[in-house]
Amino acid sequence: MDVRILWKRRLASFAKEAAGYSRYIANSGSIAFLIFAFIGGAIYYNQLLQSIPPDLPVEWGMAILFAFLIASGKIRTFIKEGDRVFVLPAEKDMGPYFKGAIGYSAIVQSIILFLLLLLAWPLYRHCMGEDTLPFLQVIFTLIVLKVANILAVWQELKIDHRGMKVFHKVIRMLVLVPILYFYFSWGMNFVLAGAIVALLFVSLGYYRSIFGKRLLRWDDLIQEEKKAMSRFYRFMNGFIDVPGVSVSVHRRSWLSGITNRLSFSQENTYTYLILKSFIRSDLSGIILRMAILGLAVIIFIPGDLGKGTAYGIFLYLVGVQLIALRQIHAHVFWFFLYPVDARQRIEAIKRVNLWVLGVVSVLLAVPLFVTFQSVYLPVVAILLALIMVVYLRKRTTF
């Protein structure tokens, strides 16, 4: 089989999986939160820029940040465990497959470089003033260096000693820092360009002579790929429930004892379980952070209308997040055995949902009552909250 087809198939199947997860993310309400956070962040960034003195040594910051980004970065190969048996015999023909992997990794990481440069650009321009380099030239230079580093990373995959791998990476980083510092400070000139080209040639010679004849280390490739996949799943798990990813459990002993207040009876079996699991989950952490953020926004935003709107938006966002409650212990074996009606589980989820929303709506309403100038608006806000609670409770049903 043509290995190029194999590569395309592997890439396509990963793209399909990633697209599937992205759809879930879009539906989960996280997008609304991200847009909100983005707008808030942009406004804050802009305000922050005004207060930053322009003589900040931004060249050094840029040089260190991008040296790190360019020198690190891994190669996605989409190699699978079974390849050790089935593809290994064709190792000498695998060139085009790995070229695909190197190309893919270079493109993805260049996109990340582009986005981060975009993010850092206002600060860079703010500090450099008239000495600011053209954006396109900067991104081009960074991508050239990135591609060279990706090629080096590929060769370094053949190193058997962990320490030596790290050593190579650190050296690349240490070489990049002064290059980028000179570049961000004085721009591209013949001396710098000459130095970069000379460096590339030296590296080429070095990697050729040392690694040219070494064999691929399949175990390492498989391990690296596994790690990359688990990073991907863990990231996605932050938005939706990915089966097979072990979720983190937080003990939270300061709060989890609250379940002792439930009476020790059969009717409370599922309420006990759902409440305890909610408190220990990432979900409750997200809700807590959201509530604190909401509280801060409501306090600092000026005007009754602004405060009221912020109240509504944050309550809605919390409610949407709480839909994830129904994922808690959705497939647990023991439920089949308990002599308790399984419908009680749904009742318990609704109950916990209502409690959490109630606590958050009261908490967020505190600054409303303290700072409102008109008497009617808090009343409107509370009505709004009630409608929202009813609506969201409906959405939690099954």
């Binding site: 089949f336 308990y338 002599p339």
Partner: protein
């Protein structure tokens, strides 16, 4: 005496068209420990799944105290507890919280729960670990959690699936003592295991499953006679019977 569990002409399996179990007929009476033995794939776990109500029989019925699961789910489910072959737990509950949850689910009062749990934790040497999450427990400790969980309920019937693997010798002894104690108090126990030498010493009766059918059943002497091997070890009898059945 009237039996607790009655499996009546049971046929069933994972797919309706391909039954794994054929015409199983047996019972477990109060004060009785019944050993369910058979090779890998003989149908032991499938039989247990049918009793738990996870699979539906294609033919026949299973009753506990004369009621099927459909007739009276609450009554059926609260009459037994189960020790699974591989520990099954909630990642986000501590050992103690698992036990509290079970007590609540089976309607045990707080006082009775505290009384029972204290004894069981000491018996299985798990007192100091009750605040730990399952992720931090070893395989054997998780198995102990499952055992404490099941014996906390004190039901009429225990269904115990291969409990010895992974347990330390003291744990095995504690479990056996506990089963004898409950048996003497009038509970019925259905136990599946490959450790035939242990079953031989503790079980009153045996059910030998082979390819989904019962090929021998009865007390040790009765199955020895069925095999024509008086005085032989259960191990040898079992080996002989499954060998014969393959011919």
């Amino acid at each position: 005496m009237e039996s607790i569990l009655q499996v009546h002409q049971l046929s069933g399996g994972y797919f309706k068209k391909h039954p794994v179990l054929h015409d199983l007929h047996f019972s477990v009476a109060p004060g009785e420990m019944v050993g369910l033995i058979g090779l890998n794939g003989a149908g032991k776990s499938t039989t247990i799944k049918h009793i738990l109500g996870l699979l539906e029989p294609t033919q026949g019925t299973i009753t506990i105290h004369n009621k099927t699961l459909q007739e009276s789910p609450g009554h059926y489910r609260s009459a037994f507890s189960y020790v699974p072959e591989t520990p099954l737990f909630y990642e986000d509950l501590t050992l103690q919280e698992h036990l509290e949850l079970t007590a609540m689910a089976y309607g045990i009062s707080k006082e009775v729960y505290e009384d029972r749990v204290e004894r069981l934790l000491v018996q299985f040497n798990m007192e100091e670990r009750k605040k730990m999450f399952p992720a931090h427990l070893s395989k054997g400790m998780r198995q102990k959690l499952m055992i404490i969980n099941a014996f906390l309920v004190e039901p009429a019937l225990y269904i115990v699936d291969e409990p010895f693997v992974g347990l330390d010798p003291v744990g095995i002894r504690s479990l056996l003592d506990l089963m004898v104690e409950r048996k003497n108090e009038g509970a019925g126990i259905l136990i599946s295991s490959h450790i035939l030498s242990t079953l031989e010493r503790y079980c009153n009766r045996f059910i030998i499953l082979h390819r989904g059918r019962i090929i021998a059943t009865g007390s040790l002497d009765e199955i020895r006679n069925q095999a024509g091997m008086p005085g032989a070890l259960l191990d040898d009898v079992f080996y002989h019977l499954t060998g014969e059945a393959n011919k």
